[in-house]
Symmetry: C2
Subunit: 331 residues, 2 copies
């Protein structure tokens, strides 16, 4: 019998389609390795490669002001949002719009064209997450920005158009409805129980263990009970905090190795699958609170969304989350 499972935090339902279930290892075979592999260390046509830096687009680099950089943040050359301009709202019948002001930046994660997060060192990954934090804090100061999204599209199926390893940072002049709904659900749980729903989920996953992948002193990674797709993973900080921008920077040295561990398991067990990495955090102007909790989500693109997902928000997941977790643990 198939099962409908509900994500306690978002209240979203997924169908775990046990009748169509596929063993976790089939997803390794399904991956077509055409994009991120066997590239050269340098591509002279790549805008993110050493030697092609457009310095007028550069925002910052690590190490600061060094002639050789490890990571860089640059403004997107074709930004979805414009950095300069006033925020103007216009409501005219059904036509409600806001000028598209905000930030659209690219974080170039590594000098080498053929590097990939899963195979970087802890130190290298740490400088990536440090850049997230630095730009997150800097952009948050802009009064026009209401919400920040940090994400990475790895591989073509995840929406990447350039293979050089990079993340994106978008500063929006609105809080999207989807985010409002999630916060509202978390607040409702808090009002009902007096607890953060994410802390509750984390405690429960830690005590059950069957969906855990890895953990350390400050972070824990598990496959979601109500995964919307195969190998859908959350990495939660153990300390309750609504905004990533408010974390103690010293904990970043615990995030990097855990992220590396999880991505390396996906890389080796699933043949470097395409995936999206998303950092979710409370809207920039909201104070710290007891109900929201920042986290990283990793969504491998191993199945395709279709009419049911578009039409109802219900996902069909043909993989059993507990089996996926055991597979990534190497059992």
């Amino acid at each position: 019998m198939p099962e409908l499972r509900q994500n306690l935090a978002t209240r979203e339902w997924v169908i775990i389609a046990s009748e169509r279930a596929r063993r976790p290892n089939v997803y390794a075979e399904a991956t077509d390795r055409t994009f991120t592999h066997e590239r050269d260390e340098h591509d002279e046509r790549c805008p993110f490669c050493v030697g092609n830096e457009e310095l007028d687009l550069e925002v910052c680099r690590l190490p600061d002001d060094g002639p050789e950089w490890d990571t860089r943040v640059v403004r997107n050359k074709y930004p979805a949002l414009a950095e300069v301009g006033p925020l103007i709202r216009t409501f005219n019948g059904v036509e409600r719009f806001i000028t598209g002001v905000g930030y659209h930046e690219v974080l170039v994660e590594h000098r080498l064209h053929n590097a990939t997060l899963a195979l970087m060192t802890d130190e290298e990954i740490r400088s990536v997450v440090e850049m997230y934090l630095r730009r997150g804090r800097e952009i948050s100061v802009d009064p026009r920005v209401e919400h920040l999204v940090f994400f990475k599209n790895h591989g073509e199926r995840a929406g990447a158009s350039l293979p050089h390893p990079h993340s994106q940072i978008i500063g929006l002049p609105i809080v999207p409805g989807d985010i409002r709904h999630r916060i509202e659900e978390a607040r409702r749980f808090f009002d009902d129980t007096g607890r953060c729903v994410f802390c509750t989920m984390l405690d429960d996953e830690l005590s059950r263990g069957e969906r855990m992948i890895a953990e350390n002193e400050h972070f824990a990674a598990f496959i979601l009970y109500a995964s919307s797709s195969p190998f859908h993973i959350w990495i939660l900080p153990r300390a309750h905090r609504a905004s990533f921008m408010h974390i103690d920077p010293s904990t970043l040295k615990y995030l990097a190795p855990l992220l590396r561990d999880v991505l390396f398991r996906l890389y080796t067990h699933l043949n470097d699958p395409d995936y999206n990495l998303i950092l979710r955090s409370s809207p920039t102007k909201e104070p710290e609170n007891g109900y929201f909790h920042w986290y990283l989500a990793i969504v491998p693109r191993l199945s395709r969304s279709a009419g049911l997902e578009l039409g109802s928000g219900v996902w069909i997941n043909p993989a059993i989350p507990e089996e996926c977790a055991a597979f990534l643990r190497g059992e």
Copy 2:
């Protein structure tokens, strides 16, 4: 300057990325015509082809009980939901689940393997929408069913795995959160204004005209002001009604030609793009009301969702809706 536009009904924001805007005709070139074209009329391995009918899976056919069928509804051989079984809810810490009972049916739209909705006759399309209505009404009677989703995945990028033209009907034992949010937004608009937000949008689009594609006595089709992707189309009935299941069947003869017209324009102007077709209707047990309004959505799969959409629900649309509408009107 890019624009953020808000969908008045769903309150979702999209970024119309004018800086990255592409002329509508580029989408015709982007389509790879590998899937639905130049197929044979019959494929002996296709489970939906004449001669391969598994009669024990058949639910109904048109004409009724005829030896030769025009359209058939069959139970999905690998259903995401089981038709037989009790509805049992279990809440155990974070593990909240419901037995996966419900309906998962396939509507085979045509006898011929190489038929496609866009090229069918009005009569043929009418028998497809009549089947939606018939099964919708029959499934709604089951007390375990809370919500019905009718959809079609056309082409591989839209999630189709079999090329024989077909739709799917899913009867869910829950009302998904996504649907609840949309209804809530519509109700709020109604409480504020005394009007249905969909009727309001329709009136506005009809009077503006610039995003209209086609209309007749009972239905109208337009590109959404806040399209989440290029050529995102709604077909709205002019008569206010929350549930498709409550329509006057005589109006179906007006829906078929309009649907054909819209799909034919997409087919000819965009080279038979992959698309999802979704029929949205009020949950099965909710009475008729003044705020929700059933409709058809057509979402061509011409761009790919990525980290921003997953992480915030905000879509980046690189096509200007008004230009897309003019292009489909042949201007």
